[in-house]
């Protein structure tokens, strides 16, 4: 029913073009004044746009248009204005003049106003010259940007310490530095009617699945919105199941993660203005894997992976298991344990279900408060929180001590999930699980788990089953899921749908004493 009412409003979906957009479509005319006037109209009331009329020595009027703060004014003065204003008769043609005189690496000829606007808006100064129906843009943009730092959300002990920043050019250059092969391709497109945000689709030619690439392109092209401020906005437009609590695109701030995924045949979508790039397709397991798994010794990495899987399950189930055992399956605990738990609950006025909910909500509130507050206040919150949910609640007899242990362990467990987006999904699902546990006990928990798993089985990320390689099962893929097999045995790339470039390396590279002597 919902679907049909949507369809009705489809007719109104094509939005009217704005006045500006109409103007921008015109091409530049021969009349210099007209061109300038048009540009001035387009940039009416834009105090940051600078129009600098000047004379090209011996050639006539010209105007330089740029945005304050985005263009490198020093370079403009030294390399553009001063050479042009100098007396010169060497060159008749303006084009040659520009070629010879202006020491700017990238000069583009522009034919329409929209081209001009595009160039101006990314910070490139545009020169319009009297008597010419084309303008020239000079690649002299420069703006303030954050320096490359280690991303705070994805820290590692061993591994590169650089992270993406808000500037797309820098981000793409970081990737290029990691993968130097020309087979590494980047396609650019623009999304957002007003923001005109540059989006880059990066992939490895020859490794990536062609249909996947096409699908990513199509989905990105379909987007028609006002503005893109963060990759999360694009994510919501291109994911497969918008109603799922689980993230269907992996986001990362680290170039090494992006590069590793590119080499596995995935597509990386980079958006200007955010350090977060998206990786498609994604499977559930990649959210529980840290890039450090691949840099540390494989035995340790495998163990840590198991620990992480266990903690994922704990962070989803522990409070509900506690509620279920305490209110339905009291025989499950050893007698001494049940007696001491019963003793600690003797004074507690709430049923276990309510107690669990209160504590979980308090914990989530503390987490949220600690996250949003300025750093200086944040530590105060954690002190208050530790006192509130710890000591005093237990001492006042409102909350039982085991419950505090359960909730804090759950909290710690959920923080071990390397990807925040997956951690928050699991944290959210904890609440319905607590309710199910409170109504049907372990049976309720199991029904909840079944529902979640069935949902995960139906999910796909760009056509790839979300639970692969577990279901559908793929033995070689399990090597990188159940354990982290050593690199020399990880011969195959993960299998997505369709044909693919299977092997990443030749076999028999296991190091051994004999290997060194060969040759």
């Amino acid at each position: 029913m919902l679907k049909r009412s949507w369809r009705k409003s489809e007719k109104g979906r094509k939005m009217q073009k704005t006045e500006y957009e109409k103007k921008e479509q015109d091409s530049l005319s021969n009349s210099f004044n007209n061109n300038v006037q048009n540009l001035r109209d387009i940039y009416k009331n834009c105090s940051d746009v600078v129009f600098r009329p000047f004379f090209i020595a011996g050639k006539g009027k010209a105007i330089l248009v740029y945005i304050e703060g985005l263009a490198n004014t020093e370079e403009i003065d030294d390399n553009v204005l001063s050479p042009l204003m100098q007396e010169s008769t060497e060159y008749d043609d303006i084009k040659t003049l520009l070629k010879k005189r202006i020491a700017v690496s990238n000069v583009k000829e522009l034919a329409t106003f929209s081209d001009c606007v595009d160039q101006i808006s990314i910070g490139n100064p545009v020169i319009l010259i009297d008597g010419r129906a084309t303008g020239f843009s000079l690649d002299l943009s420069k703006w303030e940007q954050r320096s490359v730092e280690e991303p705070s959300a994805e820290q590692v002990i061993r591994g590169p310490r650089e992270g993406f920043i808000e500037t797309l050019q820098v981000n793409s250059s970081m990737l290029r530095r990691k993968i130097r092969s020309p087979e590494f391709k980047m396609q650019a497109m623009e999304v957002g009617r007003y923001t005109k945000t540059k989006v880059i689709i990066a992939y490895m030619d020859g490794i990536v699945n062609k249909t996947l690439l096409e699908e990513v392109n199509n989905r990105l092209k379909r987007i028609d919105i006002d503005g893109v401020l963060e990759s999360g906005i694009i994510e919501e437009f291109i994911e497969d199941n918008p109603y799922s609590p689980f993230p269907q695109l992996l986001t990362t701030e680290r170039p090494d993660v992006a590069a590793a995924n590119l080499l596995e045949g995935r597509v990386v979508i980079m958006v200007d203005g955010t350090p977060f790039v998206m990786i498609a397709p994604t499977t559930l397991y990649s959210f529980f894997q840290s890039n450090e798994d691949y840099y540390s010794r494989f035995l340790i990495a495998s163990l840590i992976r198991w620990l992480r899987y266990f903690l994922v399950v704990m962070s989803l189930l522990l409070p509900s298991l506690y509620v279920a055992v305490l209110t339905f399956h009291q025989e499950m605990l050893p007698t001494t344990l049940i007696i001491s738990v019963a003793a600690s609950r003797e004074q507690v006025p709430f049923p276990a279900l309510v107690e669990a909910l209160i504590m979980e909500i308090t914990f989530e509130a503390l987490r949220e408060a600690g996250l949003r507050l300025p750093k200086q206040v944040g530590s105060a919150v954690s002190i208050v929180g530790a006192l509130v949910i710890g000591e005093s609640a237990v001492q006042a007899g409102i909350i039982s001590a085991p419950m505090v242990i359960v909730v804090s362990f759950t909290g710690i467990a959920s923080f071990t999930i390397p990807r925040y987006s997956a951690a928050i999904a699991i944290r959210m699902l904890r609440f319905p699980m607590i309710f199910l546990a409170g109504t049907l006990g372990l049976l309720g928990i199991m029904l909840g788990i079944i529902t979640i798993i069935v949902h995960l089985c139906t999910l796909r990320s760009f056509g790839v089953p979300y639970l692969s390689p577990m279901a559908p099962m793929n033995a070689s893929g399990m090597k990188d899921v159940l354990i982290r097999a050593p690199w020399w045995s990880l011969r195959t790339r993960p299998h997505f749908t369709g044909g693919y470039n299977r092997y990443r390396q030749p076999p028999d590279q296991k190091p051994g004493p004999k290997k060194g002597k060969e040759k």
């Binding site: 009291q330 025989e331 001494t336 003793a343 609950r345 003797e346 049923p351 007899g397 109504t439």
Partner: protein, 393 residues
């Protein structure tokens, strides 16, 4: 068209479904808070004078048992358990009477001990054991005992080391010094063709508290008599149930005695029918370590050890003979599992004697073939505390 109609119907059904599951949240049918439970730690069953059942349960008091709980006011004071009793015609009937007196729901999930009073045991226990196998709460692994006098007295004992007397009984059974029989084992014994059972005999010693002292022997489900601790050992040897044992022998030709700690033992019952004569060969092998030697014998001497092994085997033989004399010849009750053994090996012959097994059983000739192996002399070689020249070679 049909599809469209169905889709509408599906949506309506989905809405109804969701409403239905909203109701789920309101009903918590089986939910019981842990504070509304009275945990049964041990059960005693006695016979009353008017042939009814007196059920007594040992309930834990979490307030007192919880140890050091801050701020909840004086933990650890008072008794950790309480014993309540009620009478009824069945156990569950008695329990419902009991529930009238207890403010919390009686919960059987942690019941680990079932004690039958002597009078009830003599009267038959079959009808009372059914509850423990049928109701979903009680455990099949609960240990069963027969008590001297009334079972309730055992539950009321206030222990020194453990939290409750039921806990003592359970730990004692866990050690397997005497018989240790779970509800499941009891059911199996009663169900087997031999129609007999043996339960550990629990008694209160005024000075020492609880104690497992011997075994109660049942014919069908009625207790016929009891055997003492020593004879129980013989029973255990034959049933292959010896787990924790020390055997002390007084070697010939010298003063003092040597104690051995049993490491493992294996008993194999081999039934034989030779010319219509029923024979049972019990093959026993045990492995022991010496743990104490107050004789002058040198335990590093292979000859002496050989000799000691023989005496050890003889000692076991003696024990078993004593038990057999009483249980097989006098009581005529097959608690050793001979019947099962014959059934397994000679199903056809067993079929014939099944009906009058109690007459056939005492006629069986039992041969005991025991072998003892002394593995190590312990941490010392020669006897400690005597001069070298006094050590016997």
């Amino acid at each position: 068209m049909i599809n469209l109609y169905f889709r509408k119907l599906t949506n309506i059904l989905l809405c109804i479904c969701l409403c239905f599951f909203m109701l789920l949240l309101t009903g918590c049918w089986d939910r019981t808070e842990i504070n509304d439970l009275a945990l049964v730690l041990g059960t005693g069953i006695d016979k009353t004078d008017d042939n009814k059942i007196q059920l007594s349960v040992q309930l834990s008091i979490p307030k007192a048992m919880g140890g050091t709980q801050q701020g909840t006011g004086g933990g650890g004071s008072g008794k950790p358990t309480i014993v309540k009793k009620a009478t009824g015609s069945t156990i569950y009937d008695a329990m419902s009477r009991l529930q009238e007196k207890v403010s919390r729901k009686i919960f059987w999930g942690h019941n680990r001990v079932v004690i039958f009073g002597e009078a009830l045991a003599k009267d038959g226990i079959r009808k009372d054991i059914d509850f423990f196998a049928r109701h979903p709460e009680p455990r099949l692994r609960a240990y069963t005992f027969v008590s001297t006098g009334k079972a309730i007295d055992i539950l009321e004992v206030i222990p020194e080391l453990e939290r409750s007397s039921a806990e003592i009984a359970r730990e004692l059974a866990n050690f397997k010094i005497g018989m240790s029989v779970t509800v499941k084992d009891l059911l199996q014994m009663l169900n087997s063709g031999a129609d007999s059972a043996a339960l550990p005999w629990l008694e209160i010693n005024p000075t020492e508290g609880l104690r497992v002292n011997g075994t109660a022997v049942f014919k069908k489900d009625k207790m016929k008599g009891s055997i003492n601790d020593k004879l129980t050992r013989g029973l255990l040897w034959l049933r292959d149930d010896v787990h924790l044992a020390t055997v002390t022998i007084e070697p010939k030709n010298t003063k003092g005695s040597i104690s051995f700690n049993l490491l493992r033992s294996k008993t194999k019952l081999v039934p034989k029918i030779v010319d219509g004569k029923w024979q049972m060969i019990a093959k026993i092998t045990t492995e022991d370590d010496a743990v104490e030697n107050d004789t002058a014998l040198n335990l590093m001497d292979p000859k002496i050890v050989k000799d000691l092994e023989k005496q050890l085997a003889q000692r076991i033989n003696q024990r078993i003979r004593m038990t057999l004399n009483l249980v097989q010849k006098d009581m005529r009750i097959d608690v050793f599992g001979f019947g099962e053994a014959f059934h397994r090996k000679y199903p056809n012959e067993w079929e014939k004697v099944k009906g009058h097994w109690s007459e056939k059983f005492p006629e069986i000739e039992v041969k005991i073939d025991s072998k003892a192996h002394i593995r190590r002399p312990g941490m010392s070689t020669e006897p400690q505390g005597i001069p070298k020249n006094e050590v016997k070679k």
